[in-house]
């Protein structure tokens, strides 16, 4: 049953339908009785009447006698006037003659006119019929029939709204599965205006890929409101189309990344979109001491920020190809500590960290700790999959046998602050 149809409305339809059925069944019954009896009597009664008055000449009594006699015949055959229908809605037909010599007939509900020949004159016998209606059965049957019909008719698919249809049209172009398209279309109760539609023509290949992928992904289905996403997509697409004239809005978006981003609970669609854009970009703001991955700000504590910046610096400046070998546990790396201290001192680093570096140098433990903090911060914000691009790759140093680390990103995708002080 159609979900838009409430129970109350159904009851109203049912009630009206019961009335219609009662009326229809009564009309059909009445009409059929009238027609059948009329036909039967025309066939049988007409010749009988003609014969009965064959030898008649002038006796007025004979007329009333014949009428009385025929009425008696009708009455006697009343007992067999039962229909053989399963549901006897109409019972006990009864016929009686009003008059045998009527000239003109008038339309009346329960009067039948039987034409017959009196000599050469055409006469009409006026016969009235009565019957008893079995109301109880009639109402029950009507209720049942109404229930069945109304139920069936209400389960017919309701018409689609204009927006629904335009959505369907779009999804049809995308060759998206019928049922899914229908489901989505009914959820998207936003008019797909011509403006948007035009843009979608450009972006549809991408949307198709995304939707197809999403519709096959159970996790996405569960956690993402696809309809909402599609709406967002349309608006974004429109924005981008207007901004760029040409549709390049989604060409540089990685589907895999987007999916990962969308599944991240603390990222909205726009953020996901930014993150999914290729290539991955990392930028540092030295004034605010913040780091942004694809323009998404990642909250970092002061000290890990400087460590991260130092790794980025090494990568960008291509010092040892960006690699920083972990100091050994016993001998801290005072060389690197010195360089780090330049950053910390110049950009308002934490005094406690400065002290530590000055006194103990760069210790393996501190480096590991801060790298882990950076990793945690990224994963907390972006999730493991997306974070990986911005984090470290590690290799065992063949000379020292210790691990060395560097940023995975390419040099050109790391944006260091322009006025960053050179440390060497």
């Amino acid at each position: 049953m159609n979900k838009f149809l409430t129970k109350k409305l159904f009851a109203v339809y049912w009630f009206i339908s019961v009335c219609v059925f009662i009326l229809a069944i009564l009309s059909i019954s009445h009409y059929s009785i009238k027609k059948e009896i009329s036909e039967q009597l025309q066939q049988k009664f007409s010749p009988i009447l003609s014969k009965t008055f064959k030898l008649y000449m002038f006796d007025k009594n004979y007329l009333s006698y014949a009428k009385k006699e025929f009425n008696q015949q009708f009455k006697n055959s009343k007992s067999i006037n039962k229909s053989d229908n399963v549901f006897t809605i109409i019972e006990d037909y009864h016929l009686s003659i009003n008059s045998l010599f009527v000239e003109n007939q008038t339309q009346q509900l329960n009067i039948i006119y039987i034409p017959w020949q009196f000599g050469l004159e055409a006469k009409l016998a006026q016969v009235s019929f009565e019957y008893r209606v079995n109301w109880w059965v009639l109402v029950m049957v009507s209720m049942f029939f109404s229930f069945v019909t109304v139920s069936i008719l209400c389960s017919l698919p309701p018409p689609k709204s204009a927006s629904h249809k335009s959505w369907l049209l779009l999804f049809k172009k995308l060759y998206i599965d019928d049922d899914v398209a229908n489901q989505l279309s009914s959820k998207l109760n936003v008019d797909l205006t011509q403006k948007y539609y035009h843009d979608l023509q450009k972006g549809n290949a991408w949307l198709k890929d995304v939707l197809e992928d999403f519709l096959n992904d159970k996790r996405i289905q569960q956690e993402l409101n696809i309809a909402e996403f599609v709406l967002w997509f349309i608006k974004k697409n429109h924005q981008q189309c207007q901004a760029q004239q040409e549709n390049k809005a989604f060409n540089d978006v990685s589907l895999k990344k987007l999916k990962a981003a969308l599944l991240q609970p603390n990222l909205n669609y726009d953020q996901s979109y930014l993150l999914a854009k290729e290539p991955c970009e990392l930028s540092f703001n030295i004034d605010l001491l913040t780091v942004s991955a694809n323009n998404i700000e990642i909250p970092l504590a002061k000290t890990p920020f400087f460590y991260y910046l130092y790794y980025a610096y090494l990568r960008v400046e291509d010092i040892h190809s960006g690699w920083l070998i972990n100091p050994s546990v016993n001998t801290p790396d005072f060389d690197s500590a010195k360089k780090l201290l330049v950053l910390l001192n110049n950009y308002n680093g934490h005094s406690k960290s400065i002290n530590e570096l000055e006194t103990h140098g760069l210790r393996a433990k501190t480096v590991d700790q801060n790298r882990n903090k950076i990793k945690e911060a990224f994963i907390a914000q972006l999730g493991e999959e997306l974070s990986q691009n911005y984090l470290f790759e590690q290799v065992r140093d063949t000379r020292t046998g210790r691990f060395k680390y560097r940023l995975e990103l390419n040099i050109e995708h790391i944006l260091l602050p322009k006025n960053l002080i050179k440390t060497n």
């Binding site: 059925f21 009965t52 008649y56 002038f58 009594n61 050469l120």
Partner: protein, 299 residues
Amino acid sequence: MLKQASGICKVVKQKYSLLSYNQITYKLVVGIAYLLCVLLLSLIFWQKPVSPTLSEITFYQCDVENSLVSHKTLNVLLPIADHANNFAEMLCDNKLVSKYYSKVKVTWGGRSELTADELLKEQYQLLWARAESLQGMVLHLDDIYQEVLPSQAVNMFWLSNVDTAQLTPAFLANRVIGLVKDQKSFSSYLVPIASLKQQGFNLSNLSINYYDTYKSLYDAFKRKEVDLIPSGNWFSSFVDLDSYHKIAIGHQLETGELYMAKSIYSLELSCELVLVFSQYNPLFSESEIEFKTSQHCEY
């Protein structure tokens, strides 16, 4: 594989176009579907009443008052339906009849419908019929039936709606004569035919229309379908005889004798029956002819 896939896509497209009907079509479809359902389901209740058993009315029956016997019926056969029930009621009220009968049944039928079998079995105890036709049916009629009242002869005439009507070839040349189909009918076939033969007409040269009943004959006359019909005074109920032109027919019409079955005959009863039968006298008296009574009864 690719072709197959695109084929599937086409099917999908078609399915969409099926779904995309608007609000008005939807309402129309639902409305029409509903009405069809109502009509089809109501048609289950098309009634087929068993037709009543009917038969033509050919007799009148009544119970005799204060009857002294049981299950004995006095059967009477008359050639006309008029006054039959009156006649029957009078017999039922009759004291003498009540001595012998518990019921009276007066039947009417065309004179030609009586069969020899009915005569021989004495199905009718009282019979109004012509001697000629009865004698033609059985030998020794006198052994079975006793005549209780002689036949009354009545005058007949041709009736025409043309004032100058006369039985001449010139007048009848382009006129139509109306008769009754029943070739045993004295009044409307035999007597008028005899009258025409007497005038020397060749019947095959005359245009004659035949009708089923007297009523039809007179209806046709009133409609001027025919110009000349045989008639007598007793037909005054059908047409106003005085407003038409009459040509006398020399031959008188015998209306038939009243017979009583020999097996029940008694003078007393026969006289009583004749007395009751006298209710038909007006039929004959209009003919201005002497009324014949039974010779044996005293009134």
